[in-house]
Amino acid sequence: MVKQMKKLALIMIVLIGFVATSAIAQDNLSPERKQAIDSLALEKVRDLSKYISLIGSKDTPWSEANRVIDRAEELFMQGSEIGVSSLTRTEINYYTTRKYFERLMRLNYDKVEIDWYNIEYVSDLQRQPDGTYVGVITIFQKFSAYDKEGRLVYQDTTKKDITVYVKRKETQIGGRLIGFWDVLLGDIRVKETTI
């Protein structure tokens, strides 16, 4: 009985050691791995900029725009909100992501161009106690709307901050355990809007 207890205790120690080693290995990411995660989060924001451009474009077929909305939504954490500002009012309205994309798709203009640029980290990804990496990426959005004669009827440039969350997860695929970095975007906050 004592022998079995000793054996069990030894197995427990080895298991705890293994789990602790894995956790430490994840904590101490090499600069190359950290760089890859930084780049991945930036890439997700760039993907979102392309999705927003497609959703807002009147050239995008309805079915395509709806499909893209689904894909764009997958980039966000549940319950995230996106801020909308205008040069014609002072308040900033916040909408859930789905609502924001649907409004974007239905904007009452004949042509809409949305271009994101200067996409960069304003706050680097920092590891939180729960293992999630959190950072803030800033973007500049140039919004241009035209009437059916092709005249520019509205234009603004908005600086927005996007919170990004990156967490290590695992999943089984084809009998293999795949470790992946799940990048999720949080709220998109409007910082300033100019002409």
Binding site: S30, E32, R33, Q35, A36, I37, S39, L40, R46, D47, K50, Y51, L54, T60, P61, E64, R67, V68, R71, K169, T171, I173, G174, I178, G179, F180, W181, D182, V183
Partner: protein
């Protein structure tokens, strides 16, 4: 008195023969001595050279190939030097040669494996070039309809539109970090949406019908 010259000439003859004989013997002795000295000097020089060569082989500074070193040691051994220092150096040199030979074999094996790996990578690259081209064609399609046609064509190669697509974002010490896994259909549409293909196919799993059941790509940053 008449006999004196006769005796004298006899005496002179005997004296001359003796002198020649003695002189010749003395000259022969000095020649032998000289030869002995020369031989000793040559032997010393040979030992010194052997000593230098053996040390160079041991220290790896000879500049000779392993075969040349082995040949030199064999030559030195054939001299049968009765010198304990030389014998000791011969033993050490033989060990150094043995090590050098093992090292050469290891390097040759490493080179063979490297060449094999390069050939394998080349074969893999050309093996998946067709899939890479097809995926790139979706990203560079001239219109949504053209991209959709490319997607439909590419999907024919998959066992299912839900076949998993894994994207490696970094590789370190044999460990892959992935992006969130996606499906074939979503990935092909993603290429259409972002209009770019910054990936490389690294592995393809197929079912018995040859259809792709899993696609693994490497993200090119």
């Amino acid at each position: 008195m008449k006999n004196i010259p006769k005796n004298f000439s006899k005496f002179l003859m005997v004296f001359l023969v003796a002198a020649i004989a003695l002189g010749g013997a003395s000259s022969c002795n000095s020649k032998k001595k000289l030869a002995k000295e020369q031989a000793a000097a040559a032997e010393a020089k040979k030992i010194e050279q052997a000593n230098n060569d053996l040390n160079a082989i041991i220290n790896g500074t000879s500049g000779w190939t392993v075969d040349e070193q082995a040949k030199r040691v064999a030559t030195i051994k054939s001299y049968n030097f009765d010198d304990p220092e030389i014998q000791k150096l011969i033993g050490e040199a033989e060990k150094a040669i043995e090590f050098g030979r093992a090292e050469e074999e290891r390097k040759a094996e490493e080179e063979r494996l490297r060449m094999e790996e390069e050939a394998r990578i080349r074969a893999e690259q050309s093996k998946y070039a067709g899939i890479d081209n097809q995926l790139a064609a979706i990203a560079t399609a001239s219109s949504v309809d053209a991209a959709n046609n490319e997607i439909n064509s590419a999907l024919q190669q998959f066992a299912s539109p839900d076949a998993p697509v894994l994207i490696i974002i970094s590789q370190e010490n044999g460990v892959n970090d992935y992006d969130r896994p996606t499906s074939a259909q979503n990935f092909l549409n993603y290429l259409k949406d972002v209009k770019g293909y910054n990936f490389k196919v690294v592995s393809v799993q197929r079912d018995s019908a040859g259809k792709i059941t899993e696609l693994e790509l490497l993200k090119k940053w």
